[in-house]
Symmetry: C3
Subunit: 275 residues, 3 copies
Amino acid sequence: MNTKTDIAENICRLCEVVREKCPLVHCITNYVTVNDVANVILAVGASPIMADDINEAADIASIASALVLNMGTLNSRTVESMIAAGKAANAADIPVVFDPVGAGASGLRNSTAARIMENVKVSVLRGNLSEMSFMAGLEVSTKGVDSSDKDKNNDPEKVAVSAAEKFGCVAAITGAVDCISDGKRIVRIENGSAMLRLVTGTGCMTTGIIGGFAGAAEDMLTAACAGISAMGIAGEIAYERAGQSGTGSYRVAVIDALSRLDPAIISERIKIYER
Amino acid sequence: MNTKTDIAENICRLCEVVREKCPLVHCITNYVTVNDVANVILAVGASPIMADDINEAADIASIASALVLNMGTLNSRTVESMIAAGKAANAADIPVVFDPVGAGASGLRNSTAARIMENVKVSVLRGNLSEMSFMAGLEVSTKGVDSSDKDKNNDPEKVAVSAAEKFGCVAAITGAVDCISDGKRIVRIENGSAMLRLVTGTGCMTTGIIGGFAGAAEDMLTAACAGISAMGIAGEIAYERAGQSGTGSYRVAVIDALSRLDPAIISERIKIYER
Amino acid sequence: MNTKTDIAENICRLCEVVREKCPLVHCITNYVTVNDVANVILAVGASPIMADDINEAADIASIASALVLNMGTLNSRTVESMIAAGKAANAADIPVVFDPVGAGASGLRNSTAARIMENVKVSVLRGNLSEMSFMAGLEVSTKGVDSSDKDKNNDPEKVAVSAAEKFGCVAAITGAVDCISDGKRIVRIENGSAMLRLVTGTGCMTTGIIGGFAGAAEDMLTAACAGISAMGIAGEIAYERAGQSGTGSYRVAVIDALSRLDPAIISERIKIYER
């Protein structure tokens, strides 16, 4: 039933296209992981710009090739900027990638996530199983910004399809197994390393990379799968090189691997299946 | 007079307990060192969440196992969040660890530190000798966020005891020699490396780690000593591995060492004395 | 025509003086690269303090030896702090180093850069060719925060001289070739590595280091050249050591090299020319 999909080939091609086009990726993201997000966007060949003031958010979005919204350290000032930038991105017809960090964990996060989805047409929604279950409208038990064990009863494939259908976007759930859907197609990616969870912001970085690929792609399912498989493969390579050294070296090795990623490496390592 | 205390044993045990419990640590901290703080909290086995908006600070604190407040890049918006989160933490009976960065260096920092101590019951107060001398009500000559040479005339043991008595908390002074007191007991830790001062945020990281241990501990003196000795030992190991390479590699090696810390390493290296 | 200038000797001396004096450098900078900026300031021997609240910006500036302003993640709150700190720095007669990140890219950035130059006497203005062309009043085509290819038609020497004359300060343009002028003298520095552009914030770091040197220097042209050549040389050394590993290791190696920089290394590697 599960067969390696031709998405793999499209990802390899996109990996080259993003380095040629060097799309500008406007990020309104959190201050915890923003530096790593900028560095991984550069590592895959795109160009990051972080700008969150309401007086320039729309201007910057309109010159960018993709917009990334991340509510990791949500605050009332930047929520308005996210919405203004999102509307400008929609008007300019550039993709919006949204990471609803901690959705389900506080009233503010829940209402903000809802406001963004109501006001902005999102192209790719990426989160962990708890966050995406919440977004899809299912019962959740979020503990902070990490996925809750209790939510393991939710089937990632069903959650991805539900969220995709609900919002008319590509929905991507990352975790032990990654599951991506546009509502019709369902893709699973089995790359990655458990060590990725021991570095803060690997989820945010994945979202940032998806933004980079989205800025150079025509198909958003491919962009989402490219970003997620790139991070998974980089996580594996980094584990082989630095897993024994500790989490500090591992994080450096993840960025190293992303910066050296090419079609040959992806083609050899990618474990992607569609059904 | 000085004998290795049984705190060493308790620290070894706590080092394992924190990895089993994986306590959620809510941090309202500065944007300079926040990424390193998150990564060291993960490295010792706890789970960080950074949330500083007034509309969710109390919500997040009430689901956490410990709260860390750090006034490194103080601003009027987050001060209110710190107090709201602190009160919620007190109500939920979870420990609050406070790092009064730069206390003594500006009127804003001085008044904010005072406001926090008046409104929030703090479990552990950690700072350098200048900051802690100021907090204890002694004469100080702070130069920025680093300890002033002039304050070397203050005896760290006396400062720690004074601050502990004044606030009814565990007071921890870190520097060439670390001194921790709950007002009755006085503990000295002699681990560490001079190179730690050449990396920004090693103080903030120590406070973050104390938060991780506090979230899994019953005794706050043990939690403070665990966090401080962990950072000291990691600083020594990092110096042996990367001291000659430079401060960039050294910082990575500190995080590596924290992520690989276990009771055997602590037991072998810890230099802790009580009198 | 081009001869190695005696600025090289002055830079070597300044490299030692900054480690002796350990000047306090007050930075109001962006949250993307702030941690790296703090770490490189420490690496060259100065002491960073980040403080951006309007209620302490002037207080902190007045105890510092240099002030660094960087508008990378501009927001309405910190713009007022930048101006207040700038005025306090002018009153205390300490140098102000300004990095007009993204000038030309949005109305907010353009008007803020103009406001700062009108209200604050800047000692060193550093940017890429697009930003500095905009500051000098020339036609530009900025794309985000990176220099635009279209602006390559502007001659860096002319832009540096124009900006220096317009503002009566040292103007420094960094890029493939660095060009620094105080309006009379023109200096070119040919150190560096193309890989520096693949790490976010190497421009901000250069500005931060200039702040460190400015806090210990008498002559601002020397301070600017010291900061720029230090980063260029560190970029070369890092490329030799970690260029093949990837951009994560490269970034660590840049900070390593800065922390180990000494007059012998500078003297051997510096490529600086005056005409």
